[in-house]
Symmetry: C2
Subunit: 466 residues, 2 copies
Amino acid sequence: MMSMCMMAMTASAFTMPQSASFRKPTFLSMSDDSVKLGIIGGGTVGGGIVEILQSKESYLQQLTGKTTQVKTICVRDKSKPRDFQIPEGCSITEDTSSVLNDDDIDIVVEVMGGTTLAKDVIFTALSNRKHVVTANKALIAECLPEIEAHITSVNEGSSSPVQFQYEAAVCGGIPIINSLQSDYPGDQITMIAGIINGCTNFMLTGMDRDGLSYDEALSQASDLGYAEADPTLDVGGFDARSKLKILMRLAYGLDVDEEDISCRGIQELTKDDYEYAKKLGGTIKLLGVAESLGDGKISGFVSPCYVSNADSLSSVNDATNAVEISSKNLERTTYIGQGAGRFPTANSCVNDIAAIAKGDTTESPFNPPSEGAKFVQQYDSVFYLRLKYRDQVGITRECGEICEKNGVSIHSILQNPVTSKSNAAFVIITERVSNTAMKKVVADLEGLDWMKGPAFCMPVLRPDWM
Amino acid sequence: MMSMCMMAMTASAFTMPQSASFRKPTFLSMSDDSVKLGIIGGGTVGGGIVEILQSKESYLQQLTGKTTQVKTICVRDKSKPRDFQIPEGCSITEDTSSVLNDDDIDIVVEVMGGTTLAKDVIFTALSNRKHVVTANKALIAECLPEIEAHITSVNEGSSSPVQFQYEAAVCGGIPIINSLQSDYPGDQITMIAGIINGCTNFMLTGMDRDGLSYDEALSQASDLGYAEADPTLDVGGFDARSKLKILMRLAYGLDVDEEDISCRGIQELTKDDYEYAKKLGGTIKLLGVAESLGDGKISGFVSPCYVSNADSLSSVNDATNAVEISSKNLERTTYIGQGAGRFPTANSCVNDIAAIAKGDTTESPFNPPSEGAKFVQQYDSVFYLRLKYRDQVGITRECGEICEKNGVSIHSILQNPVTSKSNAAFVIITERVSNTAMKKVVADLEGLDWMKGPAFCMPVLRPDWM
């Protein structure tokens, strides 16, 4: 995946000059008839940006009223061959200060990835009053509030504020950042639900449609370059959680510590779960979900979820991503598209460059939370609970007792005909209950002797039977 | 539907001063700390705008750095009660010149509908150097190039150009105008396919899911206010065609005479078609489709289309709209949301107001076509052809001969068991052929004596068997 390639570039081979940080701000130099770019990172995305800028040169000039010129590209290793044509007059350097200290450069495009040197680059560029465009999801998830505070201080009292854009950081081919910044100023977002990790969606599609096992699906995803070398970031839900955190910031103006967002990956899913999901008329997707619960309470989690076939998200397959925004004015709007890849990501960077060149502004782009908004761990949902068990009498009664004790109402129980008495599975669908009550139910069930392995519990997105 | 309510207001009860047009342009008066609005139209959408501006007042101030004040609302009949609270200090008038000639007013919001008086209002407002926000689909479809030429002349040599925004004109709850203006400057759009009429999608959903007849579905749509008084604009595809024309302008920079876009409504669809669509693994949707065919050729049509269940558009049901944009960089991005209604439409107007107040610009927002781009009537597609017939021998041979004669290859033939020899139906799926060849096949078939009624032919969107 794209984010992978960029992560791999985190190494410290770029030279960061000691003296580059926090130069005296100078007046922004963007001249009336040209915009000069310094691109830091000459890999997949950097090359895509150069190619798009070349192929759309005359249109971008018409749109922005300015020529867009790539003046300098900073790479880790100048001697490495590039898979794109270096623009005429563009110099290649290994020294970030050639970009950051060049008064001629108006916009710094950070596509090197990583969160250490990239952070220095972005902070220094902003200090030096350069606009910044970045595709760096990890950095945005980790440092957005810090970057914003820095921008505020840099822009204080300036009549030509520097701009900071990061459309490419979440779902490369879906303009979700732009939409959250531009399409909701008059609205109130009530819920976000997104398929925001391409690798796991590819795997789950294979498990559902082609009946693949988890290991077969992961192996296919790795072969196609969708999975990271250590796929835990994908399959454990952590990549999705970073993106959810950014979306929550944009939708609710809320900064949440990533660790506080509960995160369940797809590792526990089995073929049984897909069989039961089909029976229920739906499928299973790994979703990042955030919801405004009223009174300023915002919940959020990453988890596999049961999704009905009537829902648009159910037909978002393979490595495709989707984000569904529910809001007071618009009811529900869904954006489906490519999550990563050279050209989707580069395209988003070019949009950001064009918007800055046009003079569009991005200050205060957040939908603010209600007064006293806070992140809460507890939320209500209908849950799907799958239990593997050794068949014996009294199981249904014991399940019923445990649910009742914890205040969990059962909506229905599904059980395929038992083919092996020593290893069978059944599924409980609850009414709308709290996740904390469900945790207690799971803990109590797991203490029983007929249980085989852990129980698997996931939320049901908008049950169509309710 | 929303567009209906607005159409109904076309009447000439608003007063248009004879002297209002083409006043000497004055310097744009938008002061640093406030934006003053004049809203023309106090109906469903106008009221929604006022309500949103009130409820989000402090956020909009934070976002734009300015207070937003509704100074004047112009209505047809002052004595009519309003379903919204008139803002403090806002005057109500029946005279458009109270808005158009008020130097204090920065932005004119046209939500009266119609294409005669509304056109005058917009032209005069622009002449008087006011920014304009409109929700008027019919006017944009009819006059966008003329409006743009007027804006160019008004803005000539000005350092603070007036802005013109119309997000609400197409698919109220889907930010498709903003997206086409902002997200594709580095891209090339290859195809647009959209479910862009809520009434017909509601009807087709009922016919597919609930097995309703055409008449039952239309009656339900009328009862719920989705259909216009004369539903021909909806069911005949003409409303969708107006929207497709606007989308083609934004995607390809091409002005097409609406009459040149072939337009087939949903009136010929029968239960047979839904049965066959289900057999094929899909459903039927009324789509507006435009495609770049290479060499600058752009095709476009409105027609029912077979859509596979694997496609996101297949699960867009009821009055929901969707637009799918295929492009070189992003592959395919799909936007799904509400097509109309008070708050979706008003929300789009408020986004436009906020963007103007922020100082964002909208000049040259089109993805230009390649050199020598032109609209063409001919396109290639896989087609679904349904024939009703009186059973007799030789039918398959005759169909085969006619297809062969016109160069149409047959992919497959579907036929349910014949229950009535005098009134049966079968379906031919073609290979990828030209629409003109299909027209000849249909004409030839309709001359045969075993045919019962006209043949029904529709394109297949991206056949999943190819």
